[in-house]
């Protein structure tokens, strides 16, 4: 299985692993960045108060009908929140690999991406669909994290903001979101760790991340165990310190709250 000769052979391709490391880190970082903003919108949509069928619950002069009954339920229907919910549920209920293939082979089939190489080696036309697929997927998960963060903010904050005349959006922007994001920073960092690991799936569409280096080395040397050991070490060195740092900040922040 593992042998010194095998490692010696594999080591000749160590450059591929270095490139893979750079690729994995940029893939994950961009994914969290785009995924976060997507999630922010999804979460705000899910929690929005846009009732286009509100008129159903209105009697003469827009008086609010009392709660209960089918008409009332229908009047509360919020299409924006509904669509955001459908999105989140679909992306959380289907395999990442299916989503990735869909986006790479179907969505990007008709898109002519420039074929230049990022950092001189990352193929742009593979990298972009990879980021898109990962970001769309993690956006769904981050949405639920952000939603929980928003809901954890005391309702009194919103009442105070609204009673000062701030609009629903201003309240979100200046009062609720800044507090919510601070609370969920550890959870977002955890999602970053998850994405570092899950980004390995992108090797199936030819993104040159760490697993791609494993596959290439295997093809050239007919060794699999040694490249896998190297990949494992790299992944571990990426994720383990990251989670330790998160845990440290989490402890420090909760101490601040109790003061």
């Amino acid at each position: 299985m593992l042998s010194a000769a095998g490692f010696a052979k594999t080591w000749k391709y160590i450059e591929l692993f270095k490139e893979g490391l750079v690729c994995t880190v940029s893939l994950s970082a961009l994914t969290v960045l785009f995924g976060f903003f997507l999630a922010l919108f999804l979460a705000v949509f899910r929690l929005s108060d846009i009732n286009v069928f509100r008129f159903l619950s209105r009697e003469s002069q827009w008086r609010l009908r009392e709660k209960g009954g089918f008409v009332y339920a229908a009047s509360r229907f919020n299409p924006v929140s509904f669509l955001a919910t459908v999105y989140v549920e679909i992306f959380r209920a289907t395999p990442m690999l299916v989503q990735l293939f869909f986006i790479y082979y179907v969505l990007f089939a008709g898109v002519e991406l420039p074929s230049f190489k990022l950092f001189g080696f990352i193929r742009f036309d593979r990298f972009v669909p990879g980021v898109v697929a990962l970001a769309l997927n993690s956006g769904a998960y981050l949405c639920e994290i952000i939603r929980a963060g928003i809901q954890s903010i005391d309702g009194g904050q919103t009442e105070a903001a609204r009673s000062l005349g701030l609009s629903q959006w201003q309240n979100m922007r200046f009062v609720v979101l800044p507090q919510a994001v601070k609370n969920i920073l550890p959870a977002i960092a955890n999602e970053f760790v998850t994405i570092i690991k899950e980004s390995s799936i992108c090797y199936t569409i030819g993104v040159q991340e760490i697993m791609y280096a494993v596959a290439s080395t295997k093809g050239a040397t007919y060794r699999i165990a040694e490249p896998l050991v190297i990949a494992t070490v790299i992944y571990f060195c990426l994720t383990f310190p990251t989670s330790k740092i998160i845990a440290y900040f989490e402890r420090r922040m909760s101490r601040g709250d109790k003061r």
């Binding site: 827009w62 009392e66 009442e159 000062l164 507090q179």
Partner: protein, 258 residues
């Protein structure tokens, strides 16, 4: 019809839950006049908070009307002073009604100064330095001039509530609503908050105050409302309410709290 002194007219206000099974407000009619210090008393669950919160539509009533500034703010559209049908902009009306809560609800991620300048700058478009000038002036007035750059967590309850009051005053409201502003405070801090409220009343501010501080009601209030089961059972001057209560439930209530 609206007389000149009436600032808020509440007519047959209702707030029902569960298809009318719970009547938090069950037909409240009252006029609030400019300069009034109206104190609302009543047992727990009688609808005091619901009444107060309905006034700036933090609760949406299920019946009745609230006229403020000549418009029925419970409607989507209302006739303005000139008789034109215009859209009711609730954010605009809320700017004119300051509200102070039992639990202060300061924004913990902002300094005291930012707490106070947020709404004037974002909502009224006031210049930042102008707003800060005004905030510092108000802070001086409530004896907290040196705390402008502190965060809410660094303040005592009484200090927080005084900040909450001047934060609302930054918008130069026509009416101030208080929902049990001293109930969450340690006893030794109640006085400093009531002092600020008295000062406001002396300055002629129109106030609606839900409180259990009967001393304050008697001393500062010019009208007292007694509520029970969502209804306004009795109203009058403090002397009438406290010295000559008519309704048996008011008798009962006063015997428990005084």
């Amino acid at each position: 019809m609206a007389t000149r002194d009436n600032i808020i007219q509440v007519k047959d206000l209702k707030k029902h839950y569960n298809q009318g099974k719970i009547k938090a407000l069950d037909g409240v009619t009252v006029d609030i006049q400019r300069g009034d210090v109206m104190v609302v008393i009543g047992p727990s669950g009688s609808g005091k908070s619901t009444f107060l919160r309905s006034l700036n539509l933090l609760e949406e009533p299920t019946g009745g009307s609230i006229h403020f500034g000549g418009m029925d703010i419970t409607k989507k559209k209302s006739k303005d002073a000139n008789g034109n049908l215009v859209k009711v902009n609730i954010n605009l009306h809320r700017q004119k009604m300051g509200m102070v809560f039992q639990h202060f609800n300061l924004f913990p991620h902002m300094t005291i100064l930012d707490n106070m300048t947020l709404a004037p700058v974002q909502v009224k478009g006031m210049k930042k330095d102008e707003a800060e000038e005004k905030a510092k002036h108000l802070l001086e007035r409530v004896g907290l001039g040196d705390r402008a750059n502190a965060y809410p967590i660094q303040l005592s309850g009484g200090q927080k509530q005084r900040i909450a009051i001047v934060r609302a005053l930054m918008m130069e409201p026509e009416v101030m609503l208080f929902d049990e502003p001293t109930s969450a405070l340690d006893p030794e801090m109640v006085g400093e908050v009531l002092e600020v409220m008295k000062e406001l009343a002396r300055g002629g501010m129109t106030m609606v105050v839900v409180t259990h501080e009967m001393g304050f009601a008697r001393e500062v209030g010019n009208r007292v409302l007694f509520m029970d089961h969502g209804q306004l059972l009795e109203q009058g001057t403090p002397a009438e309410i406290f010295d000559h209560p008519q309704h048996p439930r008011l008798h009962d209530f006063l015997s428990k709290v005084l």
